[in-house]
Amino acid sequence: MHIMEGFLPSPWWQVWFLVSLPFIIIGLYQLNRLVQEKREALPLLAVAGAFVFVLSSLKLPSFNGSCSHPTGTGLGGVLFGPCIAAVLGLIVLVFQAVFLAHGGITTLGANVFSMGIAGPAVAYLIYKAGTRAGVNTYATIFLAAALADLVTYVVTSVQLALAFPGTAGFLGAFSAFAAIFAVTQVPLAIIEGAVIMLVFKYIVQLKPEILTRLDLLSESTIRKLREAAA
């Protein structure tokens, strides 16, 4: 859910820039260290960023024919951790604002927080909790991607309701925004969960070394998953 250029009035767009800033700084710091340790990380992160951009510029099949697109942020969070995903999110959002008119420059802070920070953080936490608890890997991925999408949309509704409480107050405005976006976002979250799950399945079947190199899955888990599929 992108907030458009010009939509957030003054104090709020500055506030969200300030909220997002520490995450971006930590992300840049981690990125610097990662690139110095492993030089090959930079091009791989770049293709992941481009992948998120391309995924979000394609239209998803949707129930109500509305123009909805996946965010892909859940995948970024699971693969690289929330802080580096925030930096990737920032880059992708700038390109989306300039090329697709999704989002904007002043609303960048708010959009980075909802899509680059809150979504990936939730996806990352769910993935960690799920693997520790030994839940089925595909079910964990589905949950992580779907909930990352849902959290993104809830955070966007909060951001809009804070900026435009109206006479109904914050809670009234929040429920109004949440209700109108739910029409497209709830089915979208479920579809995105399913799509990311399928992506993961293809990676396990065709190129599992990506996952072992990122320390996401051990080789024994992958062997088990491939045997189950065969």
């Binding site: 009035p9 840049l28 110095q36 091009p43 481009a50 992948f51 391309v54 008119a101 999704h102």
Partner: protein, 258 residues
């Protein structure tokens, strides 16, 4: 579509103008739009930016109109909520059977937001259609943005075009084989597309690592930058224009249209 934007950025009427000046005009206009308390100044920005894009940069009017239509659906959805939740002042319109009403304040706020979004969009397209990304990266580097961030952004940018082409090919071949005929099939096909794309993406990333290593990549990408001086007249005109918009925004502060 996206290549088209970049093509226009590479060869438009304002190509030789200093990229710093163009960015400065675009971003200042956006800030003026957001801070304006009345819809007049943002509409003025929208009109002048559109005039600059059409008359100075020679972008075809049909292309520009199509670009402006992209964000409409996003804008409408959010503005409707603001229209109905901001309720004080005279009631202008009531939805029969539902506790929903449009009031004067709500209508004014919605109008203001619409004007700001429109002005902001025109300024964004002004930047996108006149300034190639490579020059933006050069400016970022001079502003001391961390090198690792700029390198990552440049590589991401490069890969977007390659991947879009590839995604388009996969998508078209799926459509030809009726891959998006029914809902279940479309989810499956889309997952297949995304999965195949991810793996191909990753492989091209690894190929890039090899290619860069072979050319002595040491963790830094060099980009040759050229500086184009800002002419005094251009700078004066820019400041005059921004000052005028700011003046209009101050003068129309208390004005409400409904």
């Amino acid at each position: 579509m996206y290549e088209m934007l970049e093509d226009f950025a590479q060869e438009n009427g304002l190509r030789e103008t200093s990229p710093g000046l163009k960015l400065f005009i675009g971003i200042s206009s956006i800030l003026l739009c957001v801070s304006s308390p009345a819809p007049v100044a943002p509409l003025l920005v929208a009109a002048s930016m559109s005039a600059a894009v059409l008359a100075l940069a020679h972008i075809p009017a049909r292309v520009y109109a199509r670009l402006l239509l992209i964000p409409v659906s996003f804008a409408v959805m959010s503005i409707v909520v603001v229209l109905f939740t901001t309720g004080s002042g005279a009631v202008l319109f009531e939805v029969p059977g539902l506790p929903l009403a449009v009031t004067a304040d709500g209508a004014n706020l919605a109008l203001l937001l619409l004007a700001r979004v429109f002005g902001g969009m025109c300024s964004l397209y002004f930047i996108a259609l006149t300034t190639p990304m490579a020059e933006v990266f050069d400016i970022l580097r001079r502003l001391r943005v961390p090198a690792v961030f700029i390198d990552l952004a440049m590589l991401t940018y490069r890969f977007i075009f390659i991947l879009l082409e590839e995604a388009g090919q996969i998508y078209r071949s799926q459509v030809m084989r009726l891959g998006y005929g029914r809902f279940r099939e479309s989810v499956r096909s889309f997952g297949m597309l995304a999965g195949a794309l991810f793996i191909r993406t990753w492989e091209s990333g690894e190929a890039l690592v090899l290619a860069m290593d072979a050319r002595c990549y040491d963790g830094k990408l060099g980009i040759p930058g050229e500086t184009r001086p800002v002419s005094f007249i251009a700078l004066a005109a820019t400041l005059l224009y921004l000052g005028a918009v700011f003046g209009v925004s101050l003068r129309t502060g208390g004005l409400v249209l409904v």
